[in-house]
Symmetry: C2
Subunit: 110 residues, 2 copies
């Protein structure tokens, strides 16, 4: 798990890679599309994509000639869960809100 967190945090510690995730949040994209906004070589982008994929933040597909990438939310959830343990430090109302919700359980939630 530590290794997972290492890889995910490390992958996110780069503005290019975060921007790529931002783009993928709008939907599937090819390598060329992902590279377009940047003044970087295509291999540089491929390298960033490899880092993201190894961290589990994205996945590669296969579509004719191209290998489109999609977001893989599980990895983001992993670190969101990690951070959640610290939430009480900045969000005063968190404990009470959490408490409140656990009692309500009546709101629409499948």
């Amino acid at each position: 798990m530590d290794d997972k967190l290492d890889a995910i945090f490390s992958a996110l510690a780069d503005p290019t890679r975060r921007a790529i995730l931002g783009r993928l949040a709008k939907g599937k994209a090819t390598v060329a599309e992902l590279a377009d906004p940047f003044a970087l070589s295509q291999p540089a982008i491929s390298k960033h994509l490899k880092v993201l994929e190894q961290a589990g933040l994205i996945r590669s597909g296969r579509e004719a000639n191209s290998r489109p990438r999609v977001l893989e939310p599980a990895a983001l959830k992993t670190i969101a869960d990690w951070i959640a343990d610290y939430r009480r430090f900045w969000d005063q109302s968190f404990d009470r809100l959490d408490d409140y919700l656990s009692k309500v359980q009546g709101y629409e939630n499948d």
Copy 2:
């Protein structure tokens, strides 16, 4: 802001540093106390602390002979906010819950 995120994510991409934050979540601690659980030299720990401090994740105090560290939650909130933009990708109920809360606003929240 990108620089800030770079520094924070990068600081978190190390298990030793995350463990230090975990310890500080239980309260203020001296460098010696923070170093204790690890098989690392004192200078190595001091370096990690510097990284955490430059990322804004901790602060140094001054108490007689020692320089105790405390958690600085704002930096963690910064990345929690960043991740929040992706929450809808893994949390199906998020949109509706968010909607629900914005209507209630009557729960105890100062």
